[in-house]
Each structure stands twice: as C-alpha cells, then as structure tokens.
C-alpha cells in the first residue's frame, strides 16, 4: 500500500521527494521486521515514524542510512537509487540514539570530522564549524571536550556534526530518549526550530507519541513492520483509521462490544457488560458486527447532575468516582459506570468546579457521539485499554 505524502506548498510538483521507498522489506527468517513498505517524504518536511518497541522502525532507519541492506524493494534518496551504496557514500546523515560523539576528539574536531574526511581545506573547515556551532547556539565551543558538555549541548553537537555536511536527509534515532522531561520539552522546541531554519528533510523515529505529534509535519504510525496510517498529527489524532492508531496515539478509552444499531455513520455499540454507547463508524460496519469504540478522555464532559448533559443533547451516563489522578493540566478521574461497571478515564478540568470531587461520589458524564470513533473489531497484539 502506498502512502504518498506531498507537501501542500506550490513547489512540490516540480521538486522530487527527498526520500522514496518502494516495497522495502527485511526478513529475519520467518519474522518480517519490515513488511513491504512504500512511502515518500517531501523535501524540507519533518517526517516521524511512530511505533512501539519492536515494530521495525529502527530496522527501517538503518536501511535508509545504509547499515542494513533491504531484502526487497528500492530506496531512492534525492532521486538516486541507493541499492548497494555504503553508508559513507550516501547523502544521508544520522543522529544516533546515544549520540555517538567521539570522546577522543574535541567538539570542533567532532563537528569537522565529516568535512575532514571529504578533504576540505583546514581553514574552510574551521570557518564552517564555527558557523554551525553558532547556529546551534554553542558559539566558541570548539575546544571543549565532549565530557564537559551537558545533555542538551551534546545533542546540539551531534546535530551540528551531521548538518554541517548539508545532507539531503537527516535521520534521528530517538535522540531525546535519554534526556529528562524538562530538557526533552526544551529540545523538542529546539529541534523544530532547527529543522525550520535549516530546511533539511528530517526523518525522526520515536516511540513517544508526544514527540511525534509536536515535531512533525507528517507522522507514520508503524506496527509489526507495516504503516498503519500516515498523515498529519491532527489527522492521526482526530481521524484514526485503525484501532491500533486510535489506541496508540493519545490516551483513549476502548470499549468492545457489538453493533446493535447502525444509522448511516452512527453506530450504537452494546458491550458484553450492557453498556450502550453511540459512536461514529470508521469503515464499513454492519449490524451485529463485533466492534470496538474509542472515546478520548478530553472528549467526555463531567457534570454533577445528568440534567446538564441532557439539556445539551448529549448521551449521558452515571458513574462512581473510583480514583482521582492529579497531574496538573493532564488531571484525570477514573470512573466506573453505574450499570455496566465499565471503567472510564475522563479528563478533569482544572477550572475549579470539580476541585471538591471525592472518591466514591456519583457524577454524570457524556460525550458527543461524533467525536467517538468505532471500528470493526480486529485482533492486534498491542491493544491497550487505556494508553
């Protein structure tokens, strides 16, 4: 299945995509690490590949970089076929997970390593290294040793080292994994700014969906060697095409059951425990099919009285508060629906009206059926009830 991703800007018809993969596959015996993938990445865009551990994203990245040879299919970078081209001859550079800065060289020597390998003159190397270090906000750091740098500074040196070679494609292998939360948040903003400033095409792999959503122009959700969905972060979040994407991207409540009624695109699901909820169907669903519905925590509304929800025309349910999860703006409340005892995770607004909510209280909650999605049931190994 091809997932073409084209930049919507005017230049895209004339410019070739920087990365084109067609039917790329990698097998280890019977295990298909990468299963017949085809996709394109437009010039100058930030493309993320998001997936759980073991889905094959690192294998795919290493094939693009040249460290692994694909068993089938073609990879074209900047329009040129890359079959049999070793990594030191490809117009691709990679930022490794643990950065792989050379400890036996200074920062300046690290950044200038690629240029020195190309035979660039020494003063030209110095000039370009100085420029690049200024652009990543590390002016004058040429003579520092690598172990004198902080985590964020090392990140920037690793990126500088790759970008100074002006590659067609920059690959990033979960670069923010080893950083603490505050630094990670800061680096996300920096990475986005760097990509915009340099205009290089970035291909970023991660298992952290927050990074993928914040940073990217387009995201591909990968599972078991295949792309489940490719789209903008908003498309993935609001219009998931498969249950895996609905469950993996953002938090979601998953309810399994049968489609007892189907009216156009609205499905009424009845769970085994007797919970009846409406949802919007994605794909073809017939009456009586086994289905699963997903309701996002922030889509549901809490109310002290069910009448508030009734007046708003929303389907409503009564539930008992099981647990309060305070996390600042991400606060949530775990509810157990009164009749079916289904557990729901609902976002807790911090506006003050629910500040005195206690465990054991009975509240009402409701949601717009159009904002809940429903799929025909499939068996995927990585299903989460809450994600």
């Amino acid at each position: 299945m091809t997932h073409p991703v084209s930049d919507s800007s005017a230049a895209s018809d004339a410019t070739q995509p920087d990365l084109q993969a067609s039917r790329v596959a990698k097998h280890y015996g019977a295990f298909r690490a990468v299963d017949d993938l085809s996709f394109e990445v437009a010039r100058g865009s930030f493309f993320s590949i998001l997936g759980p551990s073991g889905c094959g994203k690192t294998t795919l990245l290493r094939m693009i970089a040249g460290f692994l040879e694909a068993d089938a299919g073609q990879i074209h970078i900047g329009g040129k076929a890359m079959n049999g081209v070793p990594p030191n001859k490809r117009p691709v550079n990679m930022v490794f997970q643990h950065l792989a800065l050379f400890p036996m060289m200074s920062v300046g020597e690290n950044v200038g390593y690629g240029l020195a390998r190309r035979g660039v003159a020494k003063d030209e190397i110095q000039r370009r290294v100085g420029d690049m270090l200024e652009r990543v906000s590390l002016p004058g750091a040429q003579n520092k040793r690598v172990d004198q740098l902080s985590g964020g500074q090392k990140q920037r040196v690793a990126i500088a080292r790759s970008l100074v070679l002006e590659p067609t494609l920059l690959l990033l292998d979960e670069p923010l994994g080893a950083l603490d939360l505050k630094l990670r948040e800061h680096m996300k903003i920096e990475l986005k700014a760097l990509q915009a400033a340099f205009g290089t095409t970035f291909v970023y792999i991660t298992h952290d969906q927050s990074e993928a959503l914040v940073l990217s122009d387009h995201v591909a959700v990968m599972n078991h060697g295949r792309f489940e969905q490719v789209g903008t972060p908003q498309q993935l979040y609001y219009e998931p095409q498969t249950p895996f994407v609905a469950g993996f991207v953002g938090a979601n409540n998953r309810i399994a059951g049968r489609a007892t009624e189907v009216h156009g695109s609205t499905v009424t699901l009845t769970s085994a425990q007797g919970l009846v909820i409406p949802a919007r169907a994605i794909g073809q669903i017939a009456k009586g099919d086994a289905v699963e519905a997903f309701v996002r925590p922030e889509v549901a509304r809490l109310a002290r009285q069910a009448s508030v929800l009734k007046d708003a025309g929303l389907p409503h349910f009564s539930a008992r508060v099981e647990s309060l999860l305070f996390d600042g703006a991400n606060s949530a409340v775990l509810l157990r629906e009164a009749q079916s005892h289904t557990e729901f995770r609902i976002a807790l607004p911090q506006t003050g009206e629910f500040a005195d909510l206690t465990v054991g209280e009975t509240v009402a909650f409701g949601f717009d059926a159009q904002r809940a999605v429903c799929f025909a049931a499939s068996t995927t190994a990585n299903e989460h009830v809450f994600s």
Partner: protein, 280 residues
Amino acid sequence: MLMLLLAPALLWLLGLIVLPHVELGILSMRARVAPRVYEPSLAQFRTFFEEPLYWHTFMRTALMSLAATAITLLLAFPIAWTIAKLVRGQSKAMLFILCLIPFWVSETVRTLGWMILLRESGVLPAFLVWLGVTPAPVELLYHDATILVGLVYTSMLFMVIPLISALESLDDSLIEAAYDLGGNGWSILRQIVIPHAAPGIVAGCIVVFMLTLGNYLTPTLLGGKSSQWFTEQIYTQFITRFNWEQGAAFGFLLLALSTAIVWAGLKLSGQKFGEVMQKT
C-alpha cells in the same frame, strides 16, 4: 590496625624485593682487590662500558625485545579485534581459550616444543623436504628469527588480554557514526579505534617488553650459543664466573634500561602510567 593488615604485604615487599635489591646494589658497587678483600668502587660499571661485547649484547637485547613487542602487537591486534567485536557467544569463548591453551604448560615445555618442531631432525624441516622446498633438512634453530618466534608465541596472551578489554569498551555506534560521516576503514582505525585503545595497547606493550627483555629461557634455548641475550650474560657472571659483583651491576643496568625505555614509550604515546596499568 592498618599496619597489622598491611604487615604481610609490607613484609613480602621489604624482605623479598627491597632488601635483596639493596644487597645487590651494595654488591655492584664494590670490587675484589685481593682474596676476600673488597673495596667500594665503580669498576663493575666501568667494565660494562669498556668491554664492547657487553653493551653490544645490551643494545641487541633491547632492539630485539622492541621488535618482538612490535610483532606481537601487529599479530595480536586482529585477534583481539575479532574476539572483541566480530564474534559472539560460543565462538568468542572458543577463540579466547585457543589463546590461553599454550599457557597450560610451563614456558620450558613450550620452548622445548618449538625445539622439537624446528630442529634439524624435527617436524618442520622434514615437512619442507617432503614438500620439495629444500633438498635436505635445514637447521631452523639458533637463528634470531627463531628467538623472535619463541618470544612472540610466549607473549601473545599478555598482549591480547589488555587489547580485548580496551576494544570491548569501544561503542559500536562510534564506528557506525564515523562511517556515516564519510570515514573509511583505514581512517576509522587510525582516528577512532587506535586512540580509544591506546591505554590498552601501551599496557600490553609494557608487559610484553618487560617480559621479553628479562626472559632467560626462551632466547637461550632457541638461540643457543649465538643468542647473545643480556640475561644470559648476567647468568654467566653469577653462575659460571662466580662474579656476583659484575652480575649485580649488569642486573641494575638491565633494570635501568627497561625503566628508560618504558618511560620513553609512555612519553611518546602520551599515556600516563597509572591509567595504563588500570587496563592490564
């Protein structure tokens, strides 16, 4: 309390190392003027500098030890690289044991093994005659090359072990990053692998050099009369000539030479002794 715990080590150090050295030092600085009459003098050291045989042998020993160290390094590096980086699991243990097996027997037996292989009536000359390379069995013992072969064989393990530990600590991603940035095998070896492994290389070289310089058995057995190894000179002075004063002087000269060369080696390679010794 601390003194009590240190006592055995201090006793050993003092009694078996310091005191004998002091005694030998005193011995080396006296000369025999009449039967049982000695007076302090530097005559022993003067003899060394005046008699060409002695310092010729001295230099030869130093140069051949350096050559043996270099050859051992060149042979051990690919072996250590293979064991550290290229094989996993079972094969790794197997290869390492292959390096270890020669040391299950004593040095004497190992050296005698080489003699059986290389002497005129031995295995290798007979094989060469069978192949048709030589018309009659050739004496392969008692050449300089034979000494080098014996020394390198004996020293392999001492070079391989520090190299393996130094190379294992090299992260594979550093090598991949270097390839990714445009490096080739040779430049990566020169700029990344060797600087990273430098403490291990120097540690191995120091150990191997000291062992070969002070080796008595292998050069004497494999080199015969023409081995001209300095330890043999020391032996001759002590045992054959009963000239302990001369022998002691030679011993200290060898110690000084060894120290000087190791110091020069450390300076040249820019390593610090303490760091290097941690790698052994």
